[in-house]
Symmetry: C2
Amino acid sequence: MTDTILSSATKEVVIGFDRPFVMIGEKINPTGRKLLAEEMKAGDFTRVEKDALDQVAAGVHMLDVNAGIPLADEPALLAEAVKLVQSVTDVPISIDSSIVEALEAAIAVYEGKPLINSVTGEEEVMERVLPFVAKYGAAVVAVSNDDTGISEDPNVRFEVARTIINRAADHGIPKEDVVVDPLVMPIGAMATAGRQVFELVSRLRTELAVNTTCGASNVSFGLPNRHAVTGSFLAMAISHGMTSAIMNPMHREVKAAVMAADVLNNQDPNCALWIAENREPPADGDERGARGGRRGGRRGGRRGTATE
Amino acid sequence: MTDTILSSATKEVVIGFDRPFVMIGEKINPTGRKLLAEEMKAGDFTRVEKDALDQVAAGVHMLDVNAGIPLADEPALLAEAVKLVQSVTDVPISIDSSIVEALEAAIAVYEGKPLINSVTGEEEVMERVLPFVAKYGAAVVAVSNDDTGISEDPNVRFEVARTIINRAADHGIPKEDVVVDPLVMPIGAMATAGRQVFELVSRLRTELAVNTTCGASNVSFGLPNRHAVTGSFLAMAISHGMTSAIMNPMHREVKAAVMAADVLNNQDPNCALWIAENREPPADGDERGARGGRRGGRRGGRRGTATE
Protein backbone atom coordinates (compact mmCIF):
# COMPACT_ATOMS: atom_id res chain seq x y z
CA MET A 1 0.00 0.00 0.00
CA THR A 2 1.39 3.35 -1.05
CA ASP A 3 -0.78 6.36 -0.23
CA THR A 4 0.04 9.77 -1.70
CA ILE A 5 -1.90 12.29 0.37
CA LEU A 6 -2.63 15.68 -1.20
CA SER A 7 -4.66 18.46 0.37
CA SER A 8 -6.18 21.90 0.01
CA ALA A 9 -6.86 24.04 3.08
CA THR A 10 -9.87 21.92 3.94
CA LYS A 11 -9.87 18.71 1.90
CA GLU A 12 -7.68 15.64 1.50
CA VAL A 13 -7.39 13.39 -1.53
CA VAL A 14 -5.45 10.13 -1.52
CA ILE A 15 -3.85 8.56 -4.58
CA GLY A 16 -3.29 4.91 -3.75
CA PHE A 17 -3.42 1.26 -4.77
CA ASP A 18 -6.88 -0.31 -4.85
CA ARG A 19 -8.59 3.04 -4.22
CA PRO A 20 -10.83 4.86 -6.68
CA PHE A 21 -8.70 6.30 -9.49
CA VAL A 22 -7.89 9.99 -8.93
CA MET A 23 -9.03 12.20 -11.79
CA ILE A 24 -7.04 15.44 -12.13
CA GLY A 25 -8.73 18.04 -14.35
CA GLU A 26 -6.53 19.10 -17.28
CA LYS A 27 -8.39 22.13 -18.62
CA ILE A 28 -6.63 25.02 -16.86
CA ASN A 29 -3.76 25.08 -19.31
CA PRO A 30 -3.22 27.80 -21.94
CA THR A 31 -1.19 25.50 -24.20
CA GLY A 32 -3.16 25.37 -27.44
CA ARG A 33 -5.88 27.63 -26.01
CA LYS A 34 -5.17 31.03 -27.54
CA LEU A 35 -8.07 32.89 -25.97
CA LEU A 36 -7.29 31.60 -22.47
CA ALA A 37 -3.63 32.51 -22.96
CA GLU A 38 -4.48 36.08 -24.01
CA GLU A 39 -6.90 36.55 -21.16
CA MET A 40 -4.53 35.20 -18.50
CA LYS A 41 -1.69 37.33 -19.83
CA ALA A 42 -3.98 40.38 -19.55
CA GLY A 43 -4.85 39.46 -15.95
CA ASP A 44 -8.35 38.20 -16.76
CA PHE A 45 -8.95 34.93 -14.88
CA THR A 46 -12.68 34.62 -15.59
CA ARG A 47 -12.18 31.54 -17.74
CA VAL A 48 -9.83 29.96 -15.22
CA GLU A 49 -12.53 30.29 -12.59
CA LYS A 50 -15.17 28.82 -14.90
CA ASP A 51 -12.91 25.91 -15.91
CA ALA A 52 -12.20 25.18 -12.24
CA LEU A 53 -15.88 25.14 -11.29
CA ASP A 54 -16.95 23.16 -14.36
CA GLN A 55 -14.38 20.45 -13.79
CA VAL A 56 -15.18 20.13 -10.11
CA ALA A 57 -18.86 19.90 -11.00
CA ALA A 58 -17.94 17.14 -13.48
CA GLY A 59 -16.38 15.15 -10.65
CA VAL A 60 -12.60 15.67 -10.65
CA HIS A 61 -10.77 15.00 -7.41
CA MET A 62 -7.96 17.49 -8.16
CA LEU A 63 -7.22 20.28 -10.62
CA ASP A 64 -4.07 20.74 -12.66
CA VAL A 65 -3.17 24.44 -13.01
CA ASN A 66 -0.75 25.55 -15.73
CA ALA A 67 0.10 29.10 -16.83
CA GLY A 68 2.65 28.39 -19.55
CA ILE A 69 2.32 31.42 -21.83
CA PRO A 70 5.23 32.57 -24.00
CA LEU A 71 6.70 35.95 -23.01
CA ALA A 72 4.46 36.20 -19.95
CA ASP A 73 5.54 36.48 -16.30
CA GLU A 74 4.76 32.84 -15.64
CA PRO A 75 5.71 32.75 -11.94
CA ALA A 76 3.32 35.65 -11.18
CA LEU A 77 0.54 34.24 -13.38
CA LEU A 78 0.79 30.72 -11.96
CA ALA A 79 0.75 31.98 -8.36
CA GLU A 80 -2.26 34.16 -9.17
CA ALA A 81 -4.11 31.31 -10.89
CA VAL A 82 -3.44 28.93 -7.99
CA LYS A 83 -4.70 31.51 -5.46
CA LEU A 84 -7.84 32.11 -7.51
CA VAL A 85 -8.60 28.41 -7.94
CA GLN A 86 -8.13 27.83 -4.22
CA SER A 87 -10.57 30.67 -3.50
CA VAL A 88 -13.38 29.13 -5.56
CA THR A 89 -12.90 25.35 -5.07
CA ASP A 90 -11.61 23.10 -2.32
CA VAL A 91 -9.91 20.36 -4.32
CA PRO A 92 -6.13 19.94 -4.06
CA ILE A 93 -4.07 21.29 -6.96
CA SER A 94 -1.40 19.90 -9.24
CA ILE A 95 0.89 22.92 -9.80
CA ASP A 96 2.07 22.47 -13.37
CA SER A 97 5.03 24.19 -15.02
CA SER A 98 8.32 23.47 -16.73
CA ILE A 99 9.69 26.71 -15.24
CA VAL A 100 11.19 26.03 -11.84
CA GLU A 101 10.64 29.64 -10.65
CA ALA A 102 6.95 29.34 -11.46
CA LEU A 103 6.60 26.14 -9.41
CA GLU A 104 8.38 27.84 -6.53
CA ALA A 105 6.25 31.02 -6.71
CA ALA A 106 3.02 29.00 -6.73
CA ILE A 107 3.97 26.58 -3.95
CA ALA A 108 4.75 29.60 -1.75
CA VAL A 109 1.15 30.83 -1.93
CA TYR A 110 -0.52 27.39 -1.84
CA GLU A 111 -2.63 26.38 1.15
CA GLY A 112 -2.28 22.66 1.91
CA LYS A 113 -0.10 19.96 0.33
CA PRO A 114 0.06 20.26 -3.46
CA LEU A 115 1.32 17.96 -6.16
CA ILE A 116 4.28 19.65 -7.91
CA ASN A 117 4.16 18.80 -11.63
CA SER A 118 6.94 18.06 -12.36
CA VAL A 119 10.53 17.08 -11.80
CA THR A 120 12.46 15.23 -14.50
CA GLY A 121 15.58 13.11 -14.18
CA GLU A 122 17.69 15.99 -15.51
CA GLU A 123 20.45 16.69 -13.02
CA GLU A 124 19.87 20.43 -12.76
CA VAL A 125 16.09 20.12 -12.52
CA MET A 126 16.28 17.54 -9.73
CA GLU A 127 18.67 19.69 -7.73
CA ARG A 128 16.50 22.78 -8.09
CA VAL A 129 13.02 21.27 -7.63
CA LEU A 130 13.49 18.58 -4.99
CA PRO A 131 14.78 20.96 -2.25
CA PHE A 132 11.65 23.10 -2.23
CA VAL A 133 9.35 20.07 -2.62
CA ALA A 134 11.03 18.82 0.58
CA LYS A 135 10.93 22.22 2.27
CA TYR A 136 7.17 22.62 1.75
CA GLY A 137 6.38 18.94 2.38
CA ALA A 138 4.75 18.61 -1.04
CA ALA A 139 4.41 15.61 -3.35
CA VAL A 140 5.97 15.62 -6.82
CA VAL A 141 5.35 14.13 -10.26
CA ALA A 142 8.48 12.38 -11.58
CA VAL A 143 8.62 12.46 -15.36
CA SER A 144 10.73 9.69 -16.87
CA ASN A 145 13.09 11.69 -19.06
CA ASP A 146 16.61 12.87 -18.26
CA ASP A 147 19.51 14.81 -19.74
CA THR A 148 19.53 12.44 -22.72
CA GLY A 149 15.88 13.24 -23.54
CA ILE A 150 12.87 10.93 -23.67
CA SER A 151 13.92 7.36 -24.38
CA GLU A 152 11.73 5.15 -26.55
CA ASP A 153 13.03 2.23 -24.51
CA PRO A 154 10.69 1.60 -21.56
CA ASN A 155 13.52 0.02 -19.57
CA VAL A 156 15.44 3.28 -19.75
CA ARG A 157 12.35 5.22 -18.63
CA PHE A 158 11.97 2.79 -15.72
CA GLU A 159 15.55 3.42 -14.63
CA VAL A 160 15.07 7.20 -14.87
CA ALA A 161 12.06 6.88 -12.56
CA ARG A 162 14.14 4.87 -10.11
CA THR A 163 16.88 7.53 -10.22
CA ILE A 164 14.41 10.31 -9.39
CA ILE A 165 12.84 8.29 -6.56
CA ASN A 166 16.29 7.66 -5.06
CA ARG A 167 17.32 11.31 -5.41
CA ALA A 168 14.06 12.41 -3.81
CA ALA A 169 14.85 10.11 -0.88
CA ASP A 170 18.26 11.81 -0.56
CA HIS A 171 16.33 15.05 -0.07
CA GLY A 172 14.08 13.47 2.56
CA ILE A 173 11.08 12.98 0.26
CA PRO A 174 9.50 9.55 0.84
CA LYS A 175 8.59 7.42 -2.17
CA GLU A 176 4.87 7.79 -1.41
CA ASP A 177 5.30 11.47 -2.27
CA VAL A 178 6.75 10.69 -5.71
CA VAL A 179 4.10 9.96 -8.35
CA VAL A 180 5.72 8.64 -11.53
CA ASP A 181 4.60 9.70 -15.00
CA PRO A 182 5.85 6.99 -17.39
CA LEU A 183 5.26 9.36 -20.35
CA VAL A 184 2.42 8.64 -22.75
CA MET A 185 3.17 9.10 -26.46
CA PRO A 186 0.50 9.48 -29.15
CA ILE A 187 -0.51 5.95 -30.22
CA GLY A 188 -0.94 7.22 -33.78
CA ALA A 189 2.77 8.07 -33.91
CA MET A 190 4.12 5.14 -31.89
CA ALA A 191 2.21 1.86 -32.11
CA THR A 192 3.82 0.41 -28.98
CA ALA A 193 3.02 3.46 -26.81
CA GLY A 194 0.09 1.76 -25.06
CA ARG A 195 1.78 -1.54 -24.28
CA GLN A 196 4.87 0.29 -23.03
CA VAL A 197 2.81 2.27 -20.55
CA PHE A 198 0.87 -0.78 -19.35
CA GLU A 199 4.09 -2.68 -18.71
CA LEU A 200 5.80 0.28 -17.06
CA VAL A 201 2.85 0.97 -14.78
CA SER A 202 2.81 -2.65 -13.70
CA ARG A 203 6.56 -2.65 -13.00
CA LEU A 204 6.49 0.72 -11.20
CA ARG A 205 3.82 -0.67 -8.92
CA THR A 206 5.22 -4.12 -8.23
CA GLU A 207 8.96 -3.34 -8.23
CA LEU A 208 9.08 0.25 -6.90
CA ALA A 209 5.69 0.48 -5.12
CA VAL A 210 4.97 4.00 -6.33
CA ASN A 211 1.80 5.65 -7.54
CA THR A 212 1.52 6.67 -11.17
CA THR A 213 -0.06 9.38 -13.28
CA CYS A 214 0.03 10.60 -16.87
CA GLY A 215 -1.31 13.17 -19.28
CA ALA A 216 -3.94 10.84 -20.68
CA SER A 217 -5.25 12.88 -23.61
CA ASN A 218 -1.89 12.74 -25.35
CA VAL A 219 -2.40 9.08 -26.26
CA SER A 220 -5.21 9.88 -28.72
CA PHE A 221 -3.63 12.94 -30.31
CA GLY A 222 -4.47 13.18 -34.01
CA LEU A 223 -7.01 10.32 -34.09
CA PRO A 224 -10.72 10.57 -34.89
CA ASN A 225 -13.22 9.86 -32.10
CA ARG A 226 -10.31 10.39 -29.77
CA HIS A 227 -12.21 10.42 -26.48
CA ALA A 228 -13.11 6.75 -26.99
CA VAL A 229 -9.39 6.00 -27.42
CA THR A 230 -8.50 7.95 -24.28
CA GLY A 231 -11.24 6.16 -22.33
CA SER A 232 -10.10 2.67 -23.35
CA PHE A 233 -6.49 3.66 -22.65
CA LEU A 234 -7.33 4.70 -19.10
CA ALA A 235 -9.38 1.55 -18.45
CA MET A 236 -6.47 -0.58 -19.67
CA ALA A 237 -3.92 1.44 -17.65
CA ILE A 238 -6.08 1.07 -14.52
CA SER A 239 -6.19 -2.70 -15.00
CA HIS A 240 -2.38 -2.65 -14.94
CA GLY A 241 -2.30 -0.52 -11.77
CA MET A 242 -2.25 3.17 -12.76
CA THR A 243 -3.65 5.22 -9.89
CA SER A 244 -4.28 8.75 -11.28
CA ALA A 245 -4.28 10.78 -14.49
CA ILE A 246 -4.51 14.32 -15.72
CA MET A 247 -7.56 14.13 -17.96
CA ASN A 248 -10.69 15.92 -19.10
CA PRO A 249 -13.70 14.91 -16.99
CA MET A 250 -16.04 16.86 -19.25
CA HIS A 251 -15.72 14.09 -21.84
CA ARG A 252 -18.50 11.77 -20.79
CA GLU A 253 -17.04 8.57 -22.25
CA VAL A 254 -13.60 9.17 -20.71
CA LYS A 255 -15.02 9.64 -17.23
CA ALA A 256 -17.38 6.66 -17.66
CA ALA A 257 -14.48 4.44 -18.79
CA VAL A 258 -12.49 5.39 -15.68
CA MET A 259 -15.36 4.87 -13.25
CA ALA A 260 -16.31 1.56 -14.89
CA ALA A 261 -12.68 0.45 -14.66
CA ASP A 262 -12.77 1.21 -10.92
CA VAL A 263 -15.78 -1.12 -10.64
CA LEU A 264 -14.10 -3.86 -12.68
CA ASN A 265 -10.80 -3.56 -10.81
CA ASN A 266 -12.61 -3.87 -7.46
CA GLN A 267 -11.83 -0.28 -6.46
CA ASP A 268 -15.45 0.84 -6.07
CA PRO A 269 -16.91 -1.18 -3.18
CA ASN A 270 -20.47 -2.35 -3.90
CA CYS A 271 -20.33 -0.35 -7.16
CA ALA A 272 -21.52 2.53 -4.97
CA LEU A 273 -19.85 5.36 -6.90
CA TRP A 274 -20.95 3.89 -10.23
CA ILE A 275 -24.55 3.49 -9.15
CA ALA A 276 -24.66 7.01 -7.65
CA GLU A 277 -23.14 8.47 -10.82
CA ASN A 278 -25.62 6.71 -13.10
CA ARG A 279 -28.72 6.81 -10.95
CA GLU A 280 -30.36 9.88 -12.46
CA PRO A 281 -31.19 10.19 -16.13
CA PRO A 282 -29.85 13.33 -17.84
CA ALA A 283 -32.05 16.38 -17.29
CA ASP A 284 -32.03 17.27 -20.98
CA GLY A 285 -30.89 15.89 -24.30
CA ASP A 286 -27.26 16.75 -23.70
CA GLU A 287 -25.65 13.70 -22.20
CA ARG A 288 -22.18 15.21 -22.34
CA GLY A 289 -21.26 15.86 -18.75
CA ALA A 290 -24.85 16.22 -17.67
CA ARG A 291 -24.70 13.38 -15.19
CA GLY A 292 -21.60 14.70 -13.53
CA GLY A 293 -22.79 18.27 -13.80
CA ARG A 294 -25.86 17.52 -11.77
CA ARG A 295 -23.86 17.33 -8.59
CA GLY A 296 -20.56 18.95 -7.73
CA GLY A 297 -20.00 22.54 -6.74
CA ARG A 298 -18.14 23.40 -3.57
CA ARG A 299 -19.97 21.08 -1.22
CA GLY A 300 -21.59 18.30 -3.21
CA GLY A 301 -20.26 15.70 -5.49
CA ARG A 302 -17.86 12.89 -5.76
CA ARG A 303 -14.64 14.76 -5.17
CA GLY A 304 -14.05 13.55 -1.67
CA THR A 305 -14.63 9.91 -2.46
CA ALA A 306 -11.01 9.12 -3.20
CA THR A 307 -10.20 9.72 0.44
CA GLU A 308 -12.77 7.29 1.75
CA MET B 1 1.38 -17.54 -31.80
CA THR B 2 -1.81 -19.57 -31.59
CA ASP B 3 -4.25 -19.17 -34.47
CA THR B 4 -7.75 -20.56 -34.23
CA ILE B 5 -9.10 -20.67 -37.78
CA LEU B 6 -12.87 -20.69 -38.25
CA SER B 7 -14.70 -20.61 -41.57
CA SER B 8 -18.00 -20.47 -43.37
CA ALA B 9 -18.34 -21.88 -46.89
CA THR B 10 -16.51 -18.86 -48.31
CA LYS B 11 -14.84 -16.88 -45.53
CA GLU B 12 -12.14 -17.45 -42.91
CA VAL B 13 -11.76 -15.68 -39.59
CA VAL B 14 -8.72 -16.12 -37.36
CA ILE B 15 -8.75 -15.71 -33.58
CA GLY B 16 -5.16 -15.14 -32.54
CA PHE B 17 -2.61 -13.30 -30.43
CA ASP B 18 -1.79 -9.76 -31.58
CA ARG B 19 -4.54 -9.80 -34.21
CA PRO B 20 -7.64 -7.63 -34.17
CA PHE B 21 -10.02 -8.87 -31.48
CA VAL B 22 -12.74 -11.15 -32.89
CA MET B 23 -16.25 -9.90 -32.13
CA ILE B 24 -18.89 -12.65 -32.07
CA GLY B 25 -22.46 -11.32 -32.23
CA GLU B 26 -24.56 -12.45 -29.26
CA LYS B 27 -28.07 -11.48 -30.34
CA ILE B 28 -29.39 -14.71 -31.89
CA ASN B 29 -30.30 -16.22 -28.55
CA PRO B 30 -33.88 -16.67 -27.29
CA THR B 31 -32.80 -16.65 -23.63
CA GLY B 32 -34.64 -13.71 -22.09
CA ARG B 33 -36.19 -12.78 -25.48
CA LYS B 34 -39.75 -14.04 -25.19
CA LEU B 35 -40.91 -12.89 -28.62
CA LEU B 36 -37.94 -14.42 -30.40
CA ALA B 37 -38.45 -17.65 -28.49
CA GLU B 38 -42.13 -17.85 -29.46
CA GLU B 39 -41.39 -17.08 -33.11
CA MET B 40 -38.57 -19.62 -33.39
CA LYS B 41 -40.66 -22.29 -31.69
CA ALA B 42 -43.41 -21.61 -34.27
CA GLY B 43 -40.91 -21.92 -37.11
CA ASP B 44 -40.74 -18.18 -37.86
CA PHE B 45 -37.08 -17.19 -38.36
CA THR B 46 -37.69 -13.65 -39.63
CA ARG B 47 -36.13 -12.10 -36.55
CA VAL B 48 -33.16 -14.48 -36.65
CA GLU B 49 -32.45 -13.32 -40.20
CA LYS B 50 -32.74 -9.65 -39.24
CA ASP B 51 -30.49 -10.09 -36.18
CA ALA B 52 -27.91 -11.84 -38.36
CA LEU B 53 -27.89 -9.09 -40.98
CA ASP B 54 -27.92 -6.26 -38.43
CA GLN B 55 -24.99 -7.65 -36.50
CA VAL B 56 -22.94 -8.29 -39.61
CA ALA B 57 -23.69 -4.74 -40.74
CA ALA B 58 -22.50 -3.55 -37.32
CA GLY B 59 -19.16 -5.22 -37.92
CA VAL B 60 -19.09 -8.60 -36.18
CA HIS B 61 -16.61 -11.16 -37.45
CA MET B 62 -18.71 -14.15 -36.38
CA LEU B 63 -22.23 -14.88 -35.16
CA ASP B 64 -23.25 -16.92 -32.15
CA VAL B 65 -26.44 -18.90 -32.82
CA ASN B 66 -28.43 -20.31 -29.91
CA ALA B 67 -31.90 -21.91 -29.97
CA GLY B 68 -32.34 -22.75 -26.29
CA ILE B 69 -36.12 -22.72 -25.87
CA PRO B 70 -37.83 -24.76 -23.14
CA LEU B 71 -39.98 -27.63 -24.43
CA ALA B 72 -38.92 -27.03 -28.03
CA ASP B 73 -37.15 -29.45 -30.35
CA GLU B 74 -33.81 -27.69 -29.89
CA PRO B 75 -31.73 -29.92 -32.20
CA ALA B 76 -34.10 -29.25 -35.11
CA LEU B 77 -34.41 -25.55 -34.33
CA LEU B 78 -30.68 -24.99 -33.96
CA ALA B 79 -29.89 -26.81 -37.22
CA GLU B 80 -32.58 -24.77 -38.97
CA ALA B 81 -31.29 -21.48 -37.54
CA VAL B 82 -27.70 -22.29 -38.51
CA LYS B 83 -28.76 -23.15 -42.07
CA LEU B 84 -30.75 -19.94 -42.36
CA VAL B 85 -27.93 -17.75 -41.01
CA GLN B 86 -25.48 -19.39 -43.40
CA SER B 87 -27.84 -18.65 -46.28
CA VAL B 88 -27.98 -14.90 -45.58
CA THR B 89 -24.46 -14.09 -44.28
CA ASP B 90 -20.97 -15.41 -44.87
CA VAL B 91 -19.42 -15.07 -41.41
CA PRO B 92 -18.44 -18.21 -39.49
CA ILE B 93 -20.78 -19.33 -36.72
CA SER B 94 -20.41 -20.17 -33.07
CA ILE B 95 -22.95 -23.01 -32.60
CA ASP B 96 -24.24 -22.46 -29.09
CA SER B 97 -26.14 -24.97 -26.95
CA SER B 98 -25.96 -26.81 -23.65
CA ILE B 99 -27.77 -29.74 -25.32
CA VAL B 100 -25.23 -32.09 -26.90
CA GLU B 101 -27.76 -33.42 -29.45
CA ALA B 102 -28.41 -29.86 -30.63
CA LEU B 103 -24.70 -29.19 -31.17
CA GLU B 104 -24.42 -32.44 -33.10
CA ALA B 105 -27.49 -31.74 -35.26
CA ALA B 106 -26.21 -28.25 -36.16
CA ILE B 107 -22.62 -29.23 -36.87
CA ALA B 108 -23.94 -31.87 -39.30
CA VAL B 109 -25.56 -29.20 -41.50
CA TYR B 110 -22.83 -26.54 -41.12
CA GLU B 111 -20.73 -25.56 -44.12
CA GLY B 112 -17.15 -24.77 -43.10
CA LYS B 113 -15.38 -25.00 -39.74
CA PRO B 114 -17.55 -23.79 -36.88
CA LEU B 115 -16.82 -22.96 -33.27
CA ILE B 116 -18.74 -25.39 -31.04
CA ASN B 117 -19.96 -23.55 -27.95
CA SER B 118 -19.31 -25.34 -25.68
CA VAL B 119 -17.72 -28.23 -23.86
CA THR B 120 -17.28 -28.13 -20.09
CA GLY B 121 -14.89 -30.10 -17.90
CA GLU B 122 -17.73 -32.44 -16.89
CA GLU B 123 -16.66 -35.99 -17.65
CA GLU B 124 -19.78 -37.00 -19.54
CA VAL B 125 -19.90 -33.77 -21.56
CA MET B 126 -16.26 -34.06 -22.63
CA GLU B 127 -16.73 -37.65 -23.74
CA ARG B 128 -19.83 -36.81 -25.76
CA VAL B 129 -18.78 -33.51 -27.34
CA LEU B 130 -15.10 -33.92 -28.11
CA PRO B 131 -15.53 -36.96 -30.42
CA PHE B 132 -17.75 -35.11 -32.89
CA VAL B 133 -15.68 -31.90 -32.63
CA ALA B 134 -12.76 -34.07 -33.72
CA LYS B 135 -14.78 -35.91 -36.36
CA TYR B 136 -15.90 -32.67 -38.05
CA GLY B 137 -12.57 -30.87 -37.55
CA ALA B 138 -14.27 -28.06 -35.66
CA ALA B 139 -12.96 -25.77 -32.92
CA VAL B 140 -14.53 -25.76 -29.47
CA VAL B 141 -15.12 -23.36 -26.59
CA ALA B 142 -13.91 -24.86 -23.30
CA VAL B 143 -15.90 -23.52 -20.36
CA SER B 144 -14.05 -23.70 -17.05
CA ASN B 145 -16.53 -25.60 -14.92
CA ASP B 146 -16.65 -29.31 -14.17
CA ASP B 147 -18.65 -31.91 -12.27
CA THR B 148 -18.19 -29.89 -9.06
CA GLY B 149 -19.80 -26.80 -10.63
CA ILE B 150 -18.31 -23.35 -11.21
CA SER B 151 -15.51 -22.65 -8.78
CA GLU B 152 -15.06 -19.13 -7.39
CA ASP B 153 -11.35 -19.93 -7.17
CA PRO B 154 -9.62 -18.87 -10.41
CA ASN B 155 -6.87 -21.43 -9.87
CA VAL B 156 -9.46 -24.20 -9.97
CA ARG B 157 -10.94 -22.75 -13.17
CA PHE B 158 -7.45 -22.64 -14.68
CA GLU B 159 -6.92 -26.32 -13.90
CA VAL B 160 -10.31 -27.22 -15.39
CA ALA B 161 -9.26 -25.45 -18.59
CA ARG B 162 -6.03 -27.42 -18.62
CA THR B 163 -7.96 -30.66 -18.14
CA ILE B 164 -10.23 -29.93 -21.12
CA ILE B 165 -7.27 -28.97 -23.33
CA ASN B 166 -5.49 -32.21 -22.45
CA ARG B 167 -8.61 -34.29 -23.02
CA ALA B 168 -9.16 -32.58 -26.37
CA ALA B 169 -5.60 -33.52 -27.31
CA ASP B 170 -6.41 -37.14 -26.44
CA HIS B 171 -9.17 -36.92 -29.05
CA GLY B 172 -6.79 -35.43 -31.61
CA ILE B 173 -7.98 -31.83 -31.23
CA PRO B 174 -4.97 -29.46 -31.19
CA LYS B 175 -4.85 -26.73 -28.55
CA GLU B 176 -5.28 -24.03 -31.20
CA ASP B 177 -8.78 -25.42 -31.72
CA VAL B 178 -9.69 -25.03 -28.05
CA VAL B 179 -10.78 -21.50 -27.11
CA VAL B 180 -11.08 -21.14 -23.35
CA ASP B 181 -13.92 -19.24 -21.67
CA PRO B 182 -12.69 -18.39 -18.15
CA LEU B 183 -16.31 -17.63 -17.12
CA VAL B 184 -17.32 -14.04 -16.48
CA MET B 185 -19.53 -13.43 -13.43
CA PRO B 186 -21.59 -10.28 -12.89
CA ILE B 187 -19.30 -7.71 -11.24
CA GLY B 188 -22.25 -6.44 -9.22
CA ALA B 189 -22.55 -9.83 -7.54
CA MET B 190 -18.85 -10.68 -7.27
CA ALA B 191 -16.45 -7.76 -6.83
CA THR B 192 -13.38 -9.78 -7.85
CA ALA B 193 -14.95 -11.07 -11.08
CA GLY B 194 -13.00 -8.63 -13.27
CA ARG B 195 -9.58 -9.13 -11.73
CA GLN B 196 -10.07 -12.91 -11.80
CA VAL B 197 -10.74 -12.86 -15.52
CA PHE B 198 -7.80 -10.54 -16.27
CA GLU B 199 -5.43 -12.81 -14.36
CA LEU B 200 -6.87 -16.00 -15.87
CA VAL B 201 -6.67 -14.63 -19.41
CA SER B 202 -3.05 -13.66 -18.88
CA ARG B 203 -2.17 -17.10 -17.47
CA LEU B 204 -4.11 -18.98 -20.17
CA ARG B 205 -2.13 -17.09 -22.78
CA THR B 206 1.35 -17.26 -21.25
CA GLU B 207 1.19 -20.71 -19.62
CA LEU B 208 -1.14 -22.66 -21.94
CA ALA B 209 -0.88 -20.57 -25.15
CA VAL B 210 -4.59 -20.80 -25.92
CA ASN B 211 -7.05 -18.27 -27.29
CA THR B 212 -9.81 -17.01 -25.03
CA THR B 213 -13.41 -15.86 -25.28
CA CYS B 214 -16.27 -15.00 -22.95
CA GLY B 215 -19.86 -13.91 -22.78
CA ALA B 216 -18.97 -10.27 -22.18
CA SER B 217 -22.39 -8.80 -21.40
CA ASN B 218 -22.73 -10.92 -18.28
CA VAL B 219 -20.16 -8.79 -16.44
CA SER B 220 -22.48 -5.77 -16.32
CA PHE B 221 -25.69 -7.62 -15.44
CA GLY B 222 -27.92 -5.56 -13.15
CA LEU B 223 -25.88 -2.35 -13.30
CA PRO B 224 -27.03 1.01 -14.70
CA ASN B 225 -25.31 2.32 -17.85
CA ARG B 226 -24.15 -1.23 -18.34
CA HIS B 227 -22.74 -0.90 -21.85
CA ALA B 228 -20.02 1.42 -20.52
CA VAL B 229 -19.10 -1.28 -17.98
CA THR B 230 -19.01 -3.97 -20.67
CA GLY B 231 -16.86 -1.73 -22.89
CA SER B 232 -14.28 -1.02 -20.19
CA PHE B 233 -14.27 -4.70 -19.24
CA LEU B 234 -13.43 -5.75 -22.79
CA ALA B 235 -10.70 -3.10 -23.14
CA MET B 236 -9.13 -4.29 -19.89
CA ALA B 237 -9.46 -7.98 -20.89
CA ILE B 238 -7.83 -7.21 -24.26
CA SER B 239 -4.90 -5.55 -22.52
CA HIS B 240 -4.38 -8.81 -20.61
CA GLY B 241 -4.56 -10.87 -23.80
CA MET B 242 -8.17 -11.91 -24.43
CA THR B 243 -8.63 -12.60 -28.13
CA SER B 244 -12.40 -12.83 -28.75
CA ALA B 245 -15.77 -12.34 -27.07
CA ILE B 246 -19.45 -13.00 -27.60
CA MET B 247 -20.86 -9.48 -27.38
CA ASN B 248 -23.39 -7.06 -28.80
CA PRO B 249 -21.85 -4.96 -31.60
CA MET B 250 -24.99 -2.82 -31.81
CA HIS B 251 -23.93 -1.07 -28.61
CA ARG B 252 -21.79 1.73 -29.96
CA GLU B 253 -19.64 2.23 -26.86
CA VAL B 254 -18.90 -1.49 -26.50
CA LYS B 255 -17.69 -1.79 -30.07
CA ALA B 256 -15.71 1.47 -29.83
CA ALA B 257 -14.02 0.27 -26.62
CA VAL B 258 -12.96 -2.96 -28.34
CA MET B 259 -11.64 -1.27 -31.47
CA ALA B 260 -9.81 1.40 -29.45
CA ALA B 261 -8.27 -1.36 -27.32
CA ASP B 262 -7.00 -3.00 -30.52
CA VAL B 263 -5.29 0.30 -31.39
CA LEU B 264 -3.79 0.68 -27.91
CA ASN B 265 -2.64 -2.95 -27.76
CA ASN B 266 -0.89 -2.58 -31.14
CA GLN B 267 -3.31 -4.96 -32.88
CA ASP B 268 -4.55 -2.47 -35.48
CA PRO B 269 -1.56 -1.58 -37.67
CA ASN B 270 -1.43 2.13 -38.51
CA CYS B 271 -4.77 2.52 -36.71
CA ALA B 272 -6.24 1.62 -40.09
CA LEU B 273 -9.40 -0.10 -38.84
CA TRP B 274 -10.02 2.65 -36.29
CA ILE B 275 -9.64 5.43 -38.83
CA ALA B 276 -11.84 3.65 -41.37
CA GLU B 277 -14.50 3.04 -38.71
CA ASN B 278 -14.54 6.65 -37.57
CA ARG B 279 -13.95 8.43 -40.86
CA GLU B 280 -17.54 9.22 -41.72
CA PRO B 281 -19.85 11.20 -39.46
CA PRO B 282 -23.16 9.52 -38.64
CA ALA B 283 -25.78 10.00 -41.34
CA ASP B 284 -28.43 11.10 -38.85
CA GLY B 285 -28.87 11.95 -35.20
CA ASP B 286 -28.79 8.33 -34.09
CA GLU B 287 -25.19 7.51 -33.27
CA ARG B 288 -26.05 4.05 -31.97
CA GLY B 289 -24.63 1.69 -34.51
CA ALA B 290 -24.86 4.24 -37.30
CA ARG B 291 -21.15 4.22 -38.00
CA GLY B 292 -20.99 0.46 -38.24
CA GLY B 293 -24.30 0.30 -40.06
CA ARG B 294 -22.98 2.36 -42.91
CA ARG B 295 -20.97 -0.52 -44.23
CA GLY B 296 -21.58 -4.24 -43.81
CA GLY B 297 -24.00 -6.43 -45.69
CA ARG B 298 -22.81 -9.52 -47.45
CA ARG B 299 -19.90 -8.03 -49.33
CA GLY B 300 -18.72 -4.88 -47.62
CA GLY B 301 -17.44 -4.12 -44.23
CA ARG B 302 -14.88 -4.96 -41.66
CA ARG B 303 -15.79 -8.58 -41.13
CA GLY B 304 -12.89 -10.04 -43.00
CA THR B 305 -10.26 -7.94 -41.31
CA ALA B 306 -9.52 -10.42 -38.56
CA THR B 307 -8.06 -12.71 -41.18
CA GLU B 308 -5.63 -10.15 -42.50
